[in-house]
Structure formats: structure tokens, C-alpha cells
Symmetry: D2
Subunit: 396 residues, 4 copies
Amino acid sequence: MSFQNPVFIPGPTNMPEVLRKAVDMPTLDHRSPLFGQILHPAIAGVKQVLKSKSAEVFIFPASGTGGWETALTNTLSAGDKILAARNGMFSHRWIDMCQRHDLDVTIVETPWGEGLPADRYEEILTADTNHEIQAVLATHNETATGVKSDIAAVRRALDAAGHPALLFVDGVSSIASMDFRMEEWGVDVAVTGSQKGFMLPAGLAIVGFSPKAMEVIETAKLPRTFFDVRDMAAGYANNAYPYTPAVGLLNGLKLSCDMLLGEGLENVFARHNRIASGVRAAVGAWGLDLCAASPDVYSDSVSAIRTPEGFNATDIVTLAAEKYGVAFGVGLGEVAGKVFRIGHLGSLTDVMALSGIATAEMCMVDLGLDITLGSGVAAAQDYYRNQDAAPAKAAA
Amino acid sequence: MSFQNPVFIPGPTNMPEVLRKAVDMPTLDHRSPLFGQILHPAIAGVKQVLKSKSAEVFIFPASGTGGWETALTNTLSAGDKILAARNGMFSHRWIDMCQRHDLDVTIVETPWGEGLPADRYEEILTADTNHEIQAVLATHNETATGVKSDIAAVRRALDAAGHPALLFVDGVSSIASMDFRMEEWGVDVAVTGSQKGFMLPAGLAIVGFSPKAMEVIETAKLPRTFFDVRDMAAGYANNAYPYTPAVGLLNGLKLSCDMLLGEGLENVFARHNRIASGVRAAVGAWGLDLCAASPDVYSDSVSAIRTPEGFNATDIVTLAAEKYGVAFGVGLGEVAGKVFRIGHLGSLTDVMALSGIATAEMCMVDLGLDITLGSGVAAAQDYYRNQDAAPAKAAA
Amino acid sequence: MSFQNPVFIPGPTNMPEVLRKAVDMPTLDHRSPLFGQILHPAIAGVKQVLKSKSAEVFIFPASGTGGWETALTNTLSAGDKILAARNGMFSHRWIDMCQRHDLDVTIVETPWGEGLPADRYEEILTADTNHEIQAVLATHNETATGVKSDIAAVRRALDAAGHPALLFVDGVSSIASMDFRMEEWGVDVAVTGSQKGFMLPAGLAIVGFSPKAMEVIETAKLPRTFFDVRDMAAGYANNAYPYTPAVGLLNGLKLSCDMLLGEGLENVFARHNRIASGVRAAVGAWGLDLCAASPDVYSDSVSAIRTPEGFNATDIVTLAAEKYGVAFGVGLGEVAGKVFRIGHLGSLTDVMALSGIATAEMCMVDLGLDITLGSGVAAAQDYYRNQDAAPAKAAA
Amino acid sequence: MSFQNPVFIPGPTNMPEVLRKAVDMPTLDHRSPLFGQILHPAIAGVKQVLKSKSAEVFIFPASGTGGWETALTNTLSAGDKILAARNGMFSHRWIDMCQRHDLDVTIVETPWGEGLPADRYEEILTADTNHEIQAVLATHNETATGVKSDIAAVRRALDAAGHPALLFVDGVSSIASMDFRMEEWGVDVAVTGSQKGFMLPAGLAIVGFSPKAMEVIETAKLPRTFFDVRDMAAGYANNAYPYTPAVGLLNGLKLSCDMLLGEGLENVFARHNRIASGVRAAVGAWGLDLCAASPDVYSDSVSAIRTPEGFNATDIVTLAAEKYGVAFGVGLGEVAGKVFRIGHLGSLTDVMALSGIATAEMCMVDLGLDITLGSGVAAAQDYYRNQDAAPAKAAA
């Protein structure tokens, strides 16, 4: 696999040069004041990206999965009731984590390809008149299916039910790529990682806690030390960490926030929508369908593309890697073999996207699918060249 | 603080160029076969560094603290009894983590500056005729005091008592710097991190589990997902991870092991001893004492140096950073203000060590201590120049 | 302009990561033995790439233009007679350099788009019965027109005329991309640079001198110091340079040669031919012509593409840069505005090439040319996917 | 030799991280407007560093030797008369270059260790009543002897003689390290390189031409193309180069100027004086003498240290490299074996300097010189710690 071709996996993303260089720093004493000059701007930047003024942000040397665990263990106790929908592999895994921590999860099974069923949430919450449900889980963007859900609708469901449960949102593959409004949507814990919209290497779990979530951390009884936000909070107050921080990644995160905020979050989102729309135009030209059931749930960070019955979509991914040196994503779980995925988040340009589309096209023809070479590329070209706005440009 | 001066903190260490470049890699699809070509050699290398043929090695995107939590949560259940000695800040923190996970710790309070009391361990284990103690904790090198303990003696204590408890060893600041023999010493869980002897950025928790430790992971009831070694083991079997791995750090770890094993572990240890001996010669020339109570516990990775009564040792650290742009370590916990620490592990040369000694000397004179400029440097020079062996050389 | 899109200029090329990292090295004492461990392997590698066993290789911290000057000033004296053809901007410039050095150049004007006229060379050399012509210049690959000339034919012309003139070849944009046989073709001075087939940053002039060329350096009277090969030769004998060398670039050159020779030169040439053939398939699908007059002179390192009468080809280059963040080459000299150029040498993959083709296509449609979106891409895809050989892969 | 020890050669210097990263950039189209955004600020920065408002600055992909050749070939014709003093290896080489270009040099032989004899210059210029001397050469800092000369005095000599000759100054190892006033001193051509005060890799010849020098470039008959400032000037007017520029080095130069000017040139000079004074204090403590004859000619960028009669000073350099992995400079030419050199220019701190002093000390003791270990270090420590100013800090 060539390091010069872009990757088209749904994270880790292609990385801008300047972020790689910010991460690759010499050893700095993390107990010196200099560390605070990295840590605090990074935290402040994340808050702005989350669109929250009141959240407390905690950053762990971990992955998004560690962020999920941070959300659960700092707010809940064994036996607590949780409400969650399962509509893809990542919502499934979070539910599994709950169960391993002895949480009692009410699971709303939802077809893979559909968004979270806010109406079902409302029914269940309304029926929970004793308010036994402590937390509601919501996966903003199901990376496995390329499905974006309506978090505002989930919030409305909670409000309509008059239910005080905490709202935890997995924004790993949405935050910094698609609109996310922690405060407006009343999100109590938002979870993301460094390797998606922030365009950094994997290695940071990034979480935001609302004041309401912070209120329960002392009563939460699930054991935790590494992911204990109290130790983090105490450390931050002294420009420090409870253990050795990943200083280079934090330095990268500081710069990533500067870049995203400098470009303007709405411009970042528009850029992702632009790139994604070109990919979707190609899919249409191929005569294929997205796994995502309807346009309102189309993800701007990843497209899962259904291949015809009887065809193993994973073959596309294998061939692309072996013959063309290009990485796409395979289908996972229920949709394994049925879809392949083109990741289009992070640092990507129209031109890079076209090379991914062209590669997918070659692979499908190589494997005998009835696809016309150049057809998807032409549809995407037509879309990209007719956009009024400045071209999608990856950050330097 | 200048990035060109070496750091003299006890980790993260100065990093060789080639390791920084190995870590700073473009995005690689962690679900492709290429990832296995990084992961498996890294794991195999770590096993050799641990001197174990039977251990299973797990590498988490976390820190050494995460390694401690991995050890506890994969092998123990709430209420389990633990035996541990507290002889410094890091043994203290591991004990604290046990207590937060509802483990019942028998604490052997030990003077800070002394090594683990294997004799007391033997007494307690012998008295535990019902074998209620499930695990014994041992901090191989107390980073806070510069004290190395005798792990072989702890093993002998367990054996003499005929006690089946698991032996967990914190080797964060010893492994890959000082001799560590996982198999010979019967260590059941060994814990370390990327940022010490491996000379990498922080961001990896590295643990080795003995077959005996692996036997209990299914019965251990402490909740865990992020740190669950079962998910790791299942992933490794497929060249994969249960979540997004820190590919660059793993690539660095692979190369770091190649470098350490290529140099020869005994040569690596001799190099650390050489550098440390020069530092200790300087301390002697200054007329100061180490925190470490006796030569048999002197650490080759960090020296904690006692300053005279009434003097605040932390002032040295502050002045070195502000006036000379050099990072030393402060005293922690019981020895805060009483010691300052010179870290001398990882990628360091005689010449770099001399610059640290010279800086400490200037600071002490600046702060009014009765130290002769050049005295410590001369003692270290005399030691270094009379070594027969090839000079200590940091890896390129 | 995004740094993440590939560049499609005919050099400097896209650079493999490992070469960038080899160039970016810390300061090394260029008077120490370590320098020889970089210099001599680099020189040996270049000799193999030049396919010469007898040449002496000299490497200056300069550019290809400096290599031209090295060829002239070390072998000639003011007033000497030179034979050269002018069939593009770079042959023009070398002629101009001769004239500035008071050399007397017989210029064979040749249509831009045609190769060097070996038959005319033979006529002129045969007529020069007194052997007054000291040197014959030949531009192997005219970067301005995408025309490759037949150097073996030039050698045959010299031989047929029984003429002892030296043969100087500009291989700046051919060497390490297209077959070049210094010894077999009887080339006396071969000139290239670091930023083309060697895939490095600009900054090295690389020249090979045949034994016959070395014989005349003492009698050559053109003044030179910086480019004096005698000082270089004397330095090399002592692992040294006559002035400060560009150590990092030399380190990169050493690795570049290792990579090229490891891949196999014939494979490197086949890779370039493969990439170029795809680009030419696209040009055909667009209904456009190359500047190169016939397939036997098609360059595998750059294609100059003629646009219709009345259309300013430079607009494509400007639009590509401004709207899509992609760099193509403009037409130079006689063909300014008439052609645009796609560079396809160095570190490039099929997939990257497709993104360049797709971009050119969008620009031409944007500017009103009668081109069908996707048509050139489809032709190139069809070509690339039907190659039996392993895919073109840029070095890591 | 370890890459982690600082180098103590008089250039190339230790390089700040940020400059290395600025140089290590991806390929950028040097014919695009982006190149101008690097080139012009770099030129403007150099002008400020030269302290000239009227000079034209030209930057070649070459070395300082190329800068010397630029000065000569753009302003002179074969047979022209030159006045120069020879007081070290570098003045010797520039004279040699003149002679190879058929210039007629009047050489004032000057003891190595003394500065340029302005009084002799004045006598010779006064005697040249026909004003046949076209140019006067002056080496501002003789890198071979650690001798700084008084350029203002040379200017006064010219003025006192009423002589119109051009004044060419080699400032390779002085500019950006010691005060240099191109305009005030009436310097007509100033020559430097990237690898000394600018703290960059070797690879750029940097020259400034006064308006008076620019006036003669059309009449100068020495042949040149690569170093022709007319082509450069024409290129710059179009944001371009006459050939492929070293874009990364120019990007580094732009940032280097920003750093130097941001720190303040006078602060940069004070920093060099501070570091140098510590080294000289050590030399005094060792009981050794500098090659430089008197304090007024002490160089702040390099110290050449005389060793006792009968001792081969080069042994120190060899031993330092082989045993301690540290690079010093050997004696050159007349002082070969008689001196060793400690370079102390560029990115260096007190702390780094102390490690060099300590290493030299060990080597001298190892080789049997009567030196007390720690004595030079103590003298330097005493000097450094008593400076009121902020500590010498290398740029990040």
C-alpha cells in the first residue's frame, strides 16, 4: 500500500502536514508551565468545536472507546437503567460496554440504515414514570452504515416526556465534520476522538461533560481511575495531568482547533457536505444505493454503499488495497459483505475524492459489476465543478 | 524552555530521531494486513525485552496508569485482597487505584528511600494460610525516590510462603533501562509504558500477562471494556484491534525493540548504569545524599537527590527551567521540597548527562548552597572518561 | 494550493515519505568519517543508475543548470566549437549558456515537438574534417515539449562521422525515469538533478564524467571554482568536499538510489511508462494531440498537450491551481499558451495520475473546451486496470 | 556519533526544530504565486539582517563558495586587479578563486591570528593612484582562526585613500551571529550562506549587492550563468527563478529571518557574545591561548584554541568524535595540528556550551595535557550564571 495515495477509511483520516508536524514534537516537561500553554488552549478550542459554553472538556490518552467508558463510569452505578437504540456496529458496541459494566440497557432494535427512532425513545421515556432510566445513548453518526441521526429530535423526545435522564452522544465520526450543538441539544456527555474530524493520529479520547453530568460524578459508583474525570479536573487546575499526557497529540489538537475555527465551523461542515455530495453523485451514477435509508440520514463523513445481491462487497476493499494501494472500509456486523464504505471526512479535497471514486470504479469493473468506467467520476466532477463556493481545500 | 537542551525528567525521555520519525507516519489502514506487520513484531519485541517466552503482551493506547488498571481489572473482583508496600508516590497511587476499585489492600508502610520489604511480604503471606491474598503488588523502580527494589526477593518471599498469589510488577521506569526478568522472577503481570526505556512519546500502556494471569481473566469480575485483554487477544488474532490503535506509536515501538535488542539488553542496562554512576559521582562530590537509602537500591533510571534541611529542593527545578531552560523532576509526596530528581534513562549520552550535572550545579550555587562549581562535573568526567567500554551513545 | 493533492509538474516531483525523512537529518560533521558513509554510497548508487562502470560522479549543491555549467567549464575553453540542436526551452537554455561562456555553437534549429536530428548531426560532424567541434550537446528529454530523443542514434552519428567530439547529455528529466545508458551510448558528460527521477527536493546537480571527459579537465581553460571537478575529486578521496556539502540531500540521494536499484531500474522505467501510457490514453480520449510529434519520441516523464487553436492553454494551469489546488506545467517559449503539461515522473501511482487527469478534464470543461467529463479518466482507468504487472506503486 | 549531542563545529550549526520543519516541506509548484510568498519575504528578511536598505539580495542553491564566485563573476573581468589579505584558510581560498578566474591579486600576507591590516590596505590603495584596483576583499570572520576583522576600518581605509574600489566582504561565519552593517560600512557585495547564523542546512549562497555593485554587472566580462545575478533579478520580478529553486530552504530562510528579527539582531549578537565569552573563560582556566591574537579580534562564532608545542591538536577532535560522539573543528592550513576549534554560533544554549567544554576537557586530560577536570566548566559556569540578561536560549 502506497503512503502517497489518500486513504478513504472513515478515520483515521488523511492528516494535514502542519498537524503531523505539531504532533511530532520533542519531549517537553509536562510538569512545567509550558504544558499549560498547550493544554488550556486545546481544551478551549474543543469547547468551541462542541458549541458549548458550559461544558467541561476532558482529554484522555486513549481512543473513542475510552471516551464511551468515561461517560459511563463517571456518571452511573452498577444496575442503572439505560436506554439505547442499536442501528449499527458502533451503537452495538456501546451497548455491549454498558452490559459489561452491569448496566441494564433497554435496547431499541432499529434497522441498520435508519436513524435513531426518537419517537420510540419518547414512548419509552414517557412510560418510565418513575424516571428509573438514568441515561439515554445516542450515536450521532453510525460509522458502520453512514447514517446520521437527529440528536435534536432525541432531545425533544426527552423534553416531551419530561424525563430527566442524561443524554450521552457518540460524536466520534461527526464532531468537527458535521454540525454538532452540545449546548443547544442538551447533550450531557459528548464523546469523540482525535483521529476523525480533528485530522490527527488516533490516541486521544475527547469528552465534554455538561454541568448536569458533572453533578453526578461523586455519586456514580462504577469503579474507574484512568478515566476518572475528577482526577483530570484536579490536574487541569494545576496545568497538569494525573499521569503522563500525550503532549504531542495535545499540541496537535490545539492547532487542529485553531484551524477548524479559523476556517469557520460552518465552512468545515459545508466542505464535508460538498465532498460527500460528489461521492453520492458517483454512487447514483453507478446505479447503486447507499445503506443509509433516506437523504435525511445521509452522513457527510462516510458513505456505506450497497452492492448487488450475491456480490461480496468486501472483495472491493481487498482488491483496492492489493491492486491499487487504496484503503476503503469494509462492511461490519449485519452489513458485512453487503456494503463497502468510502470515508470522506477530515483533510480531503475534491481532487482526492475523485481518485477514490475512480479507484472504486476500477475495482467494481474488475470484479464484474455492471459499471461504466468514468461514470461515477463524471457525475462527481460535474457536481464539484459547479459549486460556486471556493473549492474544498485540505488544510496545509 | 529550549527544545535543544536535553530533558532530565524521569520520563518521557529524550527521543532518538529515528524513533520520532517512525512514530510520525502517514495514516495507514489499521484493518489492512500492513497493520499486522507492525503489530506482531512490536509484540514479539516487547516479549524479548520482558525476558519472557510465555507471556502474552497487550498494548493499549493509554499510559502506564492504564497498564496498572489493566492488571487489576482483568484478574480481580471487588473485595479481593491485595498485598502492597508503599515506599513512594507511584506505589501509593497504585494502592489508591486498588482502593477505588473496592479491593482490600494490606499496605506495608515502608520508608521512602527504601526498597520493598520482601521479608515483611513473606511474613504476611505466610500468615495468610487461607490464601485469601489474590495479588501482590511490587513497584520495581520507585520513580519518586530513585529506588530500585529486588523483585527476585519478592518472588522468593512468595515461594517461601508457598503462596499462590499473583505477582504484579510496575516496571514503568525500569523495563528497558534496568534488568527485568519476567519469566525468571515469576512475574504474572508486568506493566510499563512507551515513554521511558522505550524512548517514545507517551501514549502506550504495555503489559505482559503470564499464563497464570491469563487463567483468571474469565473469572475476574471487575468491569472493564477499554482495558479488557480478551478483546485485545481476539483482535490480535486477526491482525486487528478492538478499536482504533495508535499505529504510529506501535510502529515506533517495533523499531525501539529492534534498537534495544540490536544493542543488546545487557549493553542497554550497562549504558544506563554508566550514565547513572556518573550522576551519582557528581552527587557525592557535592556532598549530598541520594534519597535512596543504600547502594543496593540505587536506581539507574533516576536519582532523587536530597538537599540540606531548610532548603526547598523544588527551587532548583524552577530555577533550572526558568534561567537555564532545563527540566529536572521535583520531589513528590512525602519528599516534596526535600529532593530534586535527575532523570537519566532513555536516550542519553555522557555528554548530555554532564550538561545536566553542570546545570544543577549552577542552580545550587545560585540558590546559595555550599557547592563548588565544576566539582560534580569533574567527578562525573573522571568516571566517564575512565570507563573501558565504548562510550554511552544514544541511538541515532 | 493544498499540500495534499499530488503535483503534476515535471519536477520537482512528489516525494516519498522516506526520502523526505532521509533528507531532514540533524547536523552531522561533514569532516567526520560518517560523511564518507553517506557520500560514497550515494556516488556508487548514481553510477549504477547512470549504467556506467567507468564514470566519475560529482555531486554539487546546485541545480541541473549548475550541472550544465560543470560540463562546459571543466572541459572547454573560450572559443571552442560546439554542436547542438534547439528543439525546446531547455536545449535553448543550454545553448545560451554556451554562448555566454564564449563558446561557438553551431545550432541545428529543430521543430519543437521533434527529437534531436541525429542525421543532421552526422552531416555536420562528417563535414568537420578538422575536428574543430569539441563537444556535442544532446537533451535526452525536452521537458518543455515532452520529447524524448534517441541518444544512441547521436552516438552512432558521431561514430559514423569518425568524430572525436565529446558527447554531453542533459538527462535532467530522463535519468532514473527512462532508460539511460551512459556507458553503452558513449556519453561523456551526463547531467541530472535531485528533483526529478530521484524524487528529492531540488538542490543537487549530479554529473557523470567519462574517462575521456576526465582527460581534458586540465587543459580546459574556462574559469571555474565552485563547479571544478578537480576540487571535488580531491575532496572525495578524503571523504570530504571542497566546501560545505548538502549532507541531508546526499543522504536522501543515497537512499533514493537504494530504492531505485532495489525496485530494479527496468521496473522503474516500466512504471513510468505505465503511468505515462494512461495519461496518453486520456489525451487520446479527449481528442487532443501531444506536442511530441510521434510515438517514438513520447516522453514517459512529462506530456505536453496541445490545446485547440485560439485557446490559451495556460488558462488550464491557472484554473487548476486556483480552483482545484492542483499544479500542472505551463507551455514555455515557442509553445507558451499552446500546450499545458502533465508531469508524471517520480513518485506517482495510477490512482494519483487519475486524479490529475480528472482535474485537467474539469478545467477544460470549465473553460469551454468540447471535452466529455470522465472520458479521459475512463480511458486511463481502462489502461491501468488491464496491466498485468503489479500496480505502479510509489515508494513508501 | 550520536545525533543527540550538540555539534561544536563552526557551521553547519545545530538547527532549531522549527527551522528543520520549515525546510522539510512537500513539493510546491515553484512557478505558482505561492512561491513568491516565500521568496520575497525571505529576501526582505535577509536585507534587514544585512542592515541594508539599498542592497539587492540574491539567493542561490549553492554554498558560501558559490557566493564568493557570484561576487567575482558578476562584477569583474579577467585581468582585473584585486587587493586582499591572507590571514587564514578562508581568505586564502577566496584569493585562490580570484587567481583561477585570472584576476590579478595583490596579497597582503598577514599572520594567522591577526585581523585584516586596514593600515596596509590604506597604503596600497593610496599608492594606486590610477585606481587600477577594482575590488578589495575582506573576510569578516576568519573561521579557521576565530578572528574577527574590523570592516569599518577597511571602509575608512578606502575612504582615506579616496579609492573607488568595490568592497567585497565574506560574512559567511559572521552575518546573523555578529554585528554586520552592510550599508553603514559601505559593503558592495556581502556573502553568506544558510548554514551558519541562519541555522539552516547548507545549500543556499546568500549575497547582497550594493547599488554600486549592480552598476558594473553589465560590464563585467567573467563568464557566468548559474551565478548570474541578472537572471536572478529578472526571475524575482516574476516571483520566479531562472532554474529550479530550493524551495524548502527558502522557506526555512524566511522563518529564520523572522526568528532573528523577532529576537532582535542586537539580542542575537549579545547571545553569541555571551556563549563565546563562557567558552573563552574556559580556555583561560585551562591556561591555553586562543589563536586570535588579541581580544579585539576574538570571534563570537568560533574559538580556535592553541594547544602546547609538540601536541597534535587534531587528536582532540578525533578523540572527541570517537570516544564521546562530539564534533569539534580541526585546525586548517598553517594552524593544522596547532589548534582545535569550538564552534559556538547558531542555535546554542549555555547548557549546550557547557557540555562541549566538558567534553574538550575530558579529551585533553585523556591525551595527557595538564588540565584540571572541571576547571574550564567552572569558569564558564561562573560566567554564565552571573549574566544579568535572560539566559541564552536557542530558538524552539
